[in-house]
Structures are given as structure tokens and as C-alpha cells.
Symmetry: D3
Subunit: 247 residues, 6 copies
């Protein structure tokens, strides 16, 4: 089984972190294929970056599917481009936010997502609502830029810890969801430190991808996720015309 993990931002060092987290939980026979988007922003912080990251993400998914991937994981907690990816691909596509929330709900009734920046808080509240988790999950921002997670001297981990502590005392949360793919390598240490389950979306999504493949399930093409219709695409994105991209 081959699982493609696309980092939809263009920072390769973050892809490495993500790939490590994915490989650590993958089943023996699973091969992790990590890809960094080759077009778009260096990090995804808010709606604008998110929108511009989608074409590069879709290109990686189309490329990965042609090369034999059995499922695709989108490794940004905004579930960037998830619906477009599901329409495009034949293989199942999993967002790390959806995977993390679903996983948390199997082991806790109330939990908090701790994300990076305030500007990402409301988009994530939108996802919490979309996935039917608004009665269970709160969202908090630790006020740390995404790429500061790559820099051990930035103080980001310390701010993250403070926000987790607040979630446990003020929200009375039973578990913590890490709200950024760049936090993936902190999961074990935070879990031991706080004594509650801590969920990383990258790892959670790998297991959901393995599950769907093992169950022989893929995106339904009846309804909202029908394949894109062949039609003219022009300009810098002409190569994304459905008929072309599938080549």
C-alpha cells in the first residue's frame, strides 16, 4: 500500500517533519510517499495562502495517483483543497483536520484544537462545524507563526504548552488536538507531559488512509465529488484542465 502525503506549502523541511510522523505510525507494508508542493506559499496562514496553495496541491495529487498511490493525505490542518482533491482523484483523499477530529471523538467527549495563529482560528472553527464537532471541540490559537515551529529558538513550543495548559483548565478538555502539521513531532512529548491524549492529524490521517484502502473504499463519484468535466482552461492554469491533468 502506498500513501501519498502532500505538504501543500512549499517548505521542504516541514515535509520532512510530516514524513517522519507519518512513517512512525504507518503499518509495516505501507510505503509513505511524501511530496512538497512546487507552487504556492511557503506556509499556510489564513484564507489567502490556503487558496493559493490549492493548485500546487492538486498537481501533486494527480501526479501521485498516476504513479500508483492508493490514497492521498493533505497535510495542512485547514484541509486545504480537500473537496477539489476528492472530485479530481479516484483514490480517497483525507484531510488531517477531519482525521484528527474524528480520532479525538473516539476517545474523548470534549477536546481542544490548539493551532498556530489567531487568523487560523476561525477557519478551523468552520471546519469543526463542517465535520459536526461543534458540540465537542473548541479551537485556540497559540499565536505562533507556522514556520517558527521549525526553529527551536523561537519559543513556539513554549507558547504551545501554555495554550494547552489553558485548554485543560479553562475548557476542561479531555484531549488535545494539535492544529498544525508542523507540530507533528511534538505529540509524544506533549502527551506524556500533560497526561491526556494528544492527537496529531498527520498520524491520524495515515491510519484513516490505510483503513479506507484496506476496506476497498474510495470517494463516491455520485454527487458532489463527480469527476471534473472536460472543458477549456486558459492562462497560467491551463495545464489543470481536467482532461489534461489526468494525462
Amino acid at each position: 500500500m502506498r500513501i501519498l502525503i502532500v505538504n501543500p506549502n512549499t517548505t521542504a523541511s516541514m515535509t520532512a517533519t510530516i514524513a517522519r510522523a507519518a512513517s512512525a505510525v504507518a503499518a509495516g507494508p505501507t510505503e509513505i510517499l511524501a511530496a512538497t508542493s512546487s507552487m504556492g506559499p511557503a506556509s499556510i496562514e489564513g484564507y489567502y495562502d490556503e487558496a493559493l496553495a490549492v493548485p500546487g496541491l492538486l498537481a501533486e495529487i494527480a501526479h501521485g495517483e498516476r504513479n500508483g498511490a492508493d490514497a492521498a493525505v493533505i497535510a495542512c490542518f485547514d484541509d486545504t483543497g480537500l473537496d477539489a482533491a476528492r472530485a479530481l482523484a479516484t483514490i480517497p483523499a483525507i484531510g488531517i483536520c477531519e482525521a484528527a477530529l474524528v480520532t479525538a471523538a473516539f476517545i474523548a467527549q470534549r477536546f481542544t484544537v490548539v493551532t498556530t495563529m489567531e487568523r487560523s482560528r476561525i477557519p478551523l472553527e468552520g471546519l469543526v462545524q463542517r465535520y459536526g464537532m461543534h458540540g465537542k471541540a473548541k479551537v485556540r490559537a497559540a499565536d505562533i507563526p507556522v514556520l517558527s515551529l521549525e526553529d527551536p529558538t523561537s519559543g513556539a513550543a513554549s507558547k504551545l504548552r501554555s495554550e494547552i495548559a489553558r485548554a485543560l483548565s479553562e475548557d476542561r478538555s479531555e484531549a488535545i488536538v494539535l492544529g498544525c502539521a508542523g507540530m507533528a513531532d511534538l505529540v509524544s512529548e506533549l502527551s506524556h507531559e500533560f497526561g491526556v491524549p494528544v492527537i496529531d492529524g498527520v498520524a491520524a490521517a495515515v491510519k484513516q488512509a490505510e483503513a479506507l484502502v484496506a476496506l476497498g473504499l474510495s470517494t463516491s463519484k455520485r454527487g458532489a465529488y463527480a469527476y471534473p468535466l472536460a472543458k477549456p482552461y486558459i492562462g497560467a492554469l491551463a495545464s489543470f484542465a481536467p482532461a489534461v491533468l489526468a494525462l
Copy 2:
């Protein structure tokens, strides 16, 4: 007052229809600036087209704002790229779906959105939920391709009429919302024919844009719609780096 209306698909004849509908309702002193996206799909039918239409849309909005537009209308009923546009622009950005639903709710308690293709029905149900209208609005699809609305021999108008009739009898709707920018020139005729208010999103959005400008209001930059952060963008979309785009 100058109101920019962006057709986020690349079909100029549809832009002409949209511009006509906009001009017909604009106040005397309002100048309508209609723009056709120069990159992306010829029509927007489903999530994939929608995602790929966003960069071209954003480019038009940035360009229009630099050239003095006071507000921007996104003339696709999926409210394509609305959040990214609001983050990017200083001027207010209005989606025609939100404008149409809000307008309908001032004059009816129950109404039906009639859109083009089944694959757009569920995305629109998502917008209905987002705008808090799920207790008031239903969504139906007339099973007509978007561009068939441009072709009087396609039978599209007839299918649209049949679906409106079903909405009135089966949903007991009090008003009809036309769920595609390409239907804008049918509004008056359908309204007379069916004897209920019929709302076109393009016209509705022009009036909302005029309202916001007259009230001196624009998108709050405190929170989810803060300006995009300056950061590296690479590849085909490098010119969309926030620092560059604003030039």
C-alpha cells in the same frame, strides 16, 4: 462609486450578461466595471473548477482595487474564493450567493435556490448552512450545464422553469433565488411568469456593494480577514505573493 464585478470563469459572453444585469440595477452615480478572469475554467461546475478559478479571480480583484474600485462582487453563485478575496482586499467583497440569500430573507420566510447542475447542489447547501439560512432555503438543481444558459436552443430555460414550478408546489416556497450568475437576464420574465419574487444574485450583490460603500464600511482586518502576510511564493503562482500582488 465604482463597483468591480468579476466573472471568475473565463467566458466573456457570460461576463456581458452579468454586466447587463448589474448595470440595470445600479444607482445613477455607480459605475460598473466588469472583468473576466484571464486564467482558469470556462465555466464553474463543482469543487474542482471552483478551486482553479480562485487565482484568476484574485488577480482581477487586486487589479480592480489598484484601479480605484470601491467594492468587488464575485459573480459566481458558489461564492468562489470569497474568503481569500476578503483577506486580500481593502475594499469590501460580496459573493452573489450571500447577497441573494440575504435579500430573499427580507421578503420571504421560505425560498428555493434553483441552480444548474446536481454537482453544484451540495456545495450550495454548504453555503446555505454557512450563511445561517438552512431553516429557510432549499436547493434544487435543474440539470443544465452552465454554458447552455448562453444558448437559446439548449432547452435550459425550459428545464429551469420546470424546476421552479416544482419548488413552488413541492417546497411551498414563497420566493425563488436563481442559483447561477448566468441566469441573471431571466429574472424579470420568471418573476412575472410565476407571480412570486425572483432574486438574481448579481443584481442583489450590486446593491449590497453600493450599500457598504455608502455606509463607509469595509472588511474588518481584525481576525480571520487580516491582510495576507508577506512571505515567499514560488512556481507558476509566484506573482501572487502578497507583497507582489499589491504592487
Copy 3:
């Protein structure tokens, strides 16, 4: 275009404030017709006052419509008598709460309504729910009697400022909605002071009224807003019998 604005309380000085706010944003060709109710309470503070203000409000709307008004605005933030007014009138009727919330949602994802008295907080939460804004809007009361807004020595404006400050810090709101028609003349000054969009319902409703008239839309008479049936009315309100009132 003539827009009737009815102050449903009987305090003429508040009508003057309202009329000023309305005229300040009205388009050039729009004529503002401000009317003070001639029966009922001097201010509307809670459910009881609200109920007793409705007959006087309806009389003004019927009178205004007979005299050529193209739309009616109800200038109390409780949207007093809105449903009855829509059933009675042929012209569209707009409540300032609905108009303000809708306007705020075009420019912010999270906002706070700051109203006068605690006893009005829960009725306004009911309206927030009715208009589908409960995921976006909070309601706060500044603990100031309505008519104290007319008296510069009352300290009301200062209490209002304090509550706005709390909304921004505690609710992390992106915009403020003024929750009383009597606050209409503070909008510009508060907006500059706090650096976020501040929305006044009177001004917002004038623009919605202009929009509906320009779009040729009025209340659907199919369903809940069908015209009242002719029937006997007796006692002090006999003159409100539908057949009589329309004379």
C-alpha cells in the same frame, strides 16, 4: 424613492436622531419620511413595551404606504412587529436588527451586538438565532436606559464605550453592531475610536430598503406573509381591522 422610517416608540426626539442617521446615508434621490408612533410607550425596553408598540407602528406603516412610501424601516432594534408589518404592507418592511446583522456578516466573521439594557439581551439573542447568526454574533448589554442616550450628562455613552472595549477583548470581535436605534449618531465616532467597523442598524436598513426597491422586490404574499384576512375587529383596536386599515 420614498423610504418611511417609523420610530415605534413615542419619543419624537429619538425620531429626530434616527432621521438624521437615515438622511446621512440615503442616496441622492431618496426621500426619508420619518414618523413617530402616536400610541404606545415612550421607549421600548423588553417584551411588554415591544408588544404594546406594535399597533402604533402598524398604523404608521399603513398610513405611510397609502401616502406613497416605497419601503418601510422599523427603527427599533427588537425588530418590533416586523412579521405583522410584512403581512400588512405591500411595500417591503425592514427591521434594523436584521439589516445590521446582515451588513456586519458581509465584512466580519465574528461580531458583537451591544445593546442598552440587560432585559433586552435575551430578546436580541432570539433575533440573532432567527436570522441564522448565532455562530457569528454575541449580544451584550451596556446597562443603560434607552432614553439616557438622549441625555449627554447621563454617562450612557461612556458605559457603551466600556462594553465595546470588553466585546473586542473578551469576544475577540471583528466588528461592533450598535443594538439600539438611539445610538445611531455615535457610529462614526465609535468607529474611529475603536478602529473596527461599527454598524448602525438605521443606516443599514435604509440601504437595504433602497436595495429592495431598486430591485423591484417586495414581500412575497405566498405563505406566511399573505395579506391579513378581512374579519371583525372590536374594541379600542377596531380601526385595525384589515379591511378598515387599508382605507
Copy 4:
């Protein structure tokens, strides 16, 4: 114990029907005081009639409370003026819609309210939402004028039966709620005929009123139902000034 039942329309024959239904279920020591409103419409069919019925209703409640009533029931299924009545009165005020829905929910998970006219359907759907019953209750209209229920030759009862039959087959309802006070005397016969529980709001409200009185509970005056503030009231409703009405 004395329970006041106010018929907020001005048709005394309907008050007689209501009083009979109330007396039939009242406990031994309970005295039923039935009052007909002396101002307003002959029947309540839609928002307009409802609004105009409120002053007369409030006058009866104030009068009844002064004369020793221990609780008040508002005998119109729109729960006409309920919030204003709760603010005004010291004794508890019960609407027959709320009482009927609550009663139905104790004995069934899914039920249908069958009301009179289509124009009342959406107002009742609003109440269903307000009382938190939207996951359990549907609303149907039998298309019968309220006062036709008084006339055995009108065919109203037959239309009501047809609509109940549709509710049982199409909604798979487990119980029926009669959505008009004027249907109160049909409850026993319909229950036997259809073999499911049939709930009449008048009877249900009498029992809720007895319950609240026996429990020593009355409307909380902390918050939304605080007593109306003393203030000037002018015009035809001047006698409703809180300070005056309490005399």
C-alpha cells in the same frame, strides 16, 4: 386554585369550547376562569391578527391576576403575546403550544402538529424551533379557517381527519398535536379513531398551570421577564402603561 384561561380572540363561542376542554381535565379543587378578549380580531390567523390580539389578551391577564387567578393560560396555538404576558404578570403564564409540545415529547419521539391554515404553518414552525422541538415535530395545515371549526357543516373536521391520516403515513408520526384551541373538543374522538395519542393544547396547558402552582413556581423576574418599567404610554393604549395596568 384558580386558573385563568384567556381566549385572545373575541369570539365567545370559541371561549365556551375552550372552557369545556379545560374543565374536563382540571383537578377537583381547580376553578377554571375563562375570559374572552374584549378587543382585537374575531379569530387569529397569521402574524397580523396575532399582533393585534396582544393588548386585549394582556388586559385580561392583568384583570384576572388582580382578581386572584393563580396562573394564566393563553388559549391560542400561536402562543400569542406569551413573552409580554410573562413580563407583565406575577403568576405563571402558559401558552398552549408550548404545553402541547412538551406533553407530546413525554410520550412520543416524533409527532405532527396539525393546524388550521397554511399561513399559520410557518409561525408554528418558528415556535417548534423556539421550544427546541425541531428534531421531533413537524407542522401541517389542514387548510380550514379557524371559525369553520365552530360550524359542523363546514367540512372542517373532515379535512382535519385527512391531514392527520397523511401525518401518520407520510411523517410516520407517533402522536398528533391539535394545532388550534378551537379543536379542543375533538381530541377524544380523534384519539380513538386513529389509535395514537392526540394532544390538545388547552387541556395540556391547564395541567401545566396546575403543576406550576402546586410547585410554588412562577416566572423568574431576573432577566428577560423582569416587570415592565414604569414609563409614559400615550394614545389609545395609554391605559396599558405598566403603572396604570397594575391598578
Copy 5:
């Protein structure tokens, strides 16, 4: 009229408290039959105890119904086994949580349930949601073991008072619901002390039971509450086979 009240825990002293509260509000002709479960936990604190209390509860209800009870009250605030009881019994079954919430909603728009232990808070939030009260009711835990309510030296009543005080100031609640059957004898004293309505579920449920019996209503057997089907039951619970239990 005979009303069975089952204490689903096995602590007879708590049954005595419950019976006293029930008798205090029962109508003259009502006979209160209090039963203590003879199998299961000594107190119900959380999901596990709740599940194990159900068989003993059902046995008492079956026994009570055979002996002529007209209605059954389940005297644990978790509404333990309510759905199973409704399916089993012909007589109506009332949970004290549902009865208390419904009663509170007749006299207040916002109220707080104060329960015993934190582990019961989330199950009660689930009930609040089930009964459609999530817009009106908050749940707080006073951090007191259930049986400590039986011991005047435990400090439980003092902790309960502190939590009520917090509910009034922080939640701005208009009424308090006591969230444990074991608090039933504190209702009058707390009501006087805090000056707001205080609702005890046991008393509230007795009145709802009387109401349903007086109205001639019982659980609908059409749908989810159809009688259990005859089928083999084995092991320690074999005597609960529907065919057997009814003997």
C-alpha cells in the same frame, strides 16, 4: 391515581428523601408508591453506574405496573433507562431531568442545572441537547459525591450553594435546576435563599405524571417505543425476556 417513583440506585435512605419530596407536591387523590431498586449500584455517578442500574429499574417498573401504578417516575437526574422503560411499560414513564428542564422553561429563558460530580456534567449536557434545551440551559457540577448529600456533615450543601451563586453571577441565570434526586429536600430553602425559582426534578416529575394520567395519555406504541418483541433472553437477565417480565 397511583404514581410509582423508582429510585434506580439501591440506597433506601435516598428513596425516603425522594418519597418525601414527591408526597409534598402530590395532589390530594394521588398515592405515591416509592420503590428502591434491588439490584445495581448504591449511587449513580457516571455512565457505568447508569448502565448497570437499568435492569433493576425496569424490574421495578414492570412490578409497579402490574400492581396498578398509573405512571412511573425515574428518580435519577440522568433519566436512567428512560427509553427502555417507555418501550416496556404501557403506563407513561417520566424522567426527572426532562420534567425539570421543561418546568424551568415555562418560567425562565436561561437557567443552570447544578449537579453533583464533574463526571455527570457531560452526560447531562447530552440530555440538555436531547430535550432541545441547549440554547437555554447550562450544566455545572458542584463536585460532591451523590451520597454525601445524605450526610449533613459532608459540606455538600455548602458546595452546592457556592456553585448556585456562581451560576447566578457568571451564567446570569434566571432559575436553578437541582441536578440530582438527592437534592430534593433543599429546594424550598435554596429558593428563599437565592430569590430565584429553584426546580427539583422529583417534584416536577410527579406533576407531569399526574398531568399525563389526567389527560388520559400514555406512551405511543407506534414507532420507537413499540413493545419489546418476545424473544429468548439468557443468563442472569433471562427473567427480563419481554414475555417473562410482563407476567
Copy 6:
């Protein structure tokens, strides 16, 4: 990894079907331990059977955990006793309904659960609501007794097919969820026949169990799922006292 699958009814032949479905999707190193409850009903059809199945289920889970199971699956679509199991066990506990709904939501936006009997429809609608899926999932009953699924001559499979066909045409569903553990062996054949994804909860739950174990996650013991408190249990269920059961 050892995954315990408990059939909470006492019919061993159904356990065999379940075990087969589980083994078919289990990863190589996973050992499936299938257990049949030794007390309670032969099938679970409605609330009463469900409640009586819980003690036997809990005993199997306690026994399985002592014997080294790493996770437990509850193989009844009512998610029978799920909350009590999570409180009792240290290992994660997964219900097949939650697992199936979550799995379906990764590949479809609208889907239908097809269950056995009408009396199970409403309990499943309750679960759909609990898991936040009410905007996505409908529930239908094929009107087939659970154990008829074991009998190829019963016509059950044919009725199931008819109901699936109705779901696809009337609900416009994109995927089907089989709403009974006893349908597990039909999944592949139905999927091919109808050309849409068909999800079996048993298989889905096995993969979720594997995922949680691989991620090192188990039920949070902070909050609603804290371990049951040691306390006296009496009667036929005395052996379920938390202190005893853990032995």
C-alpha cells in the same frame, strides 16, 4: 495487536458472521478475538433489548481486556453500551455505528444508513445526531427482523436491496451504510450491484481500532469517561461492582 469484537446479542451464529467480516479486513498482524455475550437478548431490536444487552457486553469487555485485548469493538449498530464501556475499559472502545458514519463521511457528502426494523430507525437517528452527522446522513429501515438476516429464505436481503434502491433515488445518496452488524457479509456484493460505496460498520470499526492502537491512543480518563468509582453493587449484578469486575 489483539482486537476484541463483542457481539452484544447472544446469537453465536451472528458472531460468526461478524468475525468473518472482521478477519477479512484486519491487518496481517492483527488477531481478531470474537466474543458472544452470555447474558441478554438473542437479538437487539429497539431500546429495551439494547438496555438489557449492556451488562453482558460489559462483562465480555472486562474479560477481554484482562486477557490482553488492545481495543474493543461493540458489534451492534446501536452502539449499545458504548459510553459505559469507555468508562470501564482502559483500552479504546469503538462502536460500529460511529465507525461506519465516520468512514462514510471521508468518501461521501450525503449517505443513507439502511437498518433492519422501523423501531431501530429513531434510535439510529439519535446516534446520527450525536455524531454530528445529521446534515449528511439519513436513516431508513428495511423492515426485516435482525435474525432473518441469518436465514437465506427469509427474503431479508431482497427487502434490503429495495430499500437501498430507494435511498439512491429518493435521498440522492452517494454511499450506503449497512445499519446492522448482521449485514456484514453482504457488503461486497451490494457494493458491486449498486455501484456506490457500501460501508459495513464491523469492518470499519476494526480499522478504527487498529488505528487507535497504532497511534498509542486510548480513552481519556479526564472527564466523562473517568473510571467507575468503587462502590457497593447488589443483587444479580453485584459482580459488576467496579472493584470486582476489574479482578
